[in-house]
Symmetry: C2
Subunit: 207 residues, 2 copies
DNA sequence: ACGGAAGCGATACAGTCGTATCGGAATAAG
DNA sequence: CTTATTCCGATACGACTGTATCGCTTCCGT
């Protein structure tokens, strides 16, 4: 058998190139040629990895989704000694992609969401990522509520609220309607309200 | 002087064609030729109305923004006898674009937001629309709070939360992560919490 | 009535797009 | 070493993009 190459790693590298371009030039600026150049491979190599452009974008969006959720999970696992409330705060911080170094990911995400609104095939991996994040939020909220007094009247509802709020804030920061700091303030205020609703004290010390 | 034509109305018509296309085929599917065809004018006519494509998109996004905010205002003005709380509920319903007949506008908005994240010139009209909506929300929240007991600790913060939440929910509905009905439930639950925080009863009867 | 400016739509143009194809280089199996 | 197969990267192709240009028609002002 002839030459063998690690397609998986190449696919990943190409996906990162897609992200870089989507960040810099927007969703329309992602062409196969530019992606190939950015990934430092030939156009043919990209074509061999992905039969079509949509296939490439599909892989890329999955890649980003996994990276974000992985980071969220890592952030939570990093401090297991803390309360569920604190963990939830960190998780939302991570999901909101407010920090400057994650601005690129935020733009990419937004670009994919917009495209997915008209492309059913692109929407599926996005739904999966959202489902994973929502499930994670539900778990944290339920844990936080259990450690407190009241029941969780609707942890799913709270999780959805949180997820939509972070997403919306991310978009508003990208547009420039609010600054990252202001968005952080809004998010933390909402979390404070959530603690109150759950009957827990919340994180007393803010890091 | 030779022939005179009503450019303003033609521009509006073209803007509507832009919206139709952005809704059907996504942000990438908006080409000058397709727009011209959809607007039932020649390509040259489009070019005469807008020097460049970006100019056209700029006008279109302004057009949509004004239409949405106008509808929100109209909805509020329609029932001035109601409480400020009820008015705010209606306003958020309108902004969230959850109803099926506004799904198109929602997609268009999302498309523009995504594009604006990398194009500063497109971001400006969007910021204006957001600012107008936020101001409107602040006013309604302040009024609602005044009719109640407590002060408005941070009406701006609440308004921003509401705006980001509606935006995020709209996106999630478009993706299919939640249904329109579920999103409505989330939104109304948040509003209920807001009434409680403001110390008002909120709308007792739901329309 | 007539001249000229404004509007018209078709066409031209250069560029980029995604995709298909192809001859040659590289390599594992015999 | 030979051979068959997998990968390579360049190039070809047709379609489409945004924009510029050009006769021609239409109509207002004098």
């Amino acid at each position: 058998m002839p030459k063998q190459v690690d397609y998986e790693s190449r696919r990943r590298r190409i996906a990162e190139a897609v992200c870089l371009l989507a960040d810099e030039q927007g969703p329309e600026g992602v062409s196969m040629r530019d992606v190939a150049t950015r990934a430092q491979v030939s156009l043919g190599a990209v074509q061999r990895c992905f039969r079509t452009k949509e296939e490439m974008l599909l892989f890329a969006v999955d890649h980003v989704g996994e990276r974000v959720t992985a980071r969220v999970r890592a952030r939570i696992a990093a401090g297991p000694a803390q309360s569920a409330a604190t963990a939830l705060g960190h998780a939302t911080d991570e999901v909101a992609l407010l920090r400057e170094e994650h601005r690129a990911e935020a733009r990419i995400w937004l670009a994919f969401v917009a495209q997915a609104a008209v492309s059913a095939s692109l929407a599926e991996p996005l739904r999966n990522s959202y489902a994973a994040l929502q499930e994670l939020f539900v778990r944290l909220i339920t844990e936080a509520a259990a450690s407190g007094a009241a029941d969780g009247p609707d942890a799913v509802c709270e999780a959805r609220t949180l997820l939509a709020l972070t997403d919306g804030l991310t978009g508003h920061v990208l547009i420039g309607h609010v600054t990252a700091r202001e968005a952080e303030g809004v998010l933390h205020a909402h979390l404070a309200g959530l603690w109150a609703r759950l009957g827990v004290t919340g994180p007393e010390a803010e890091g």
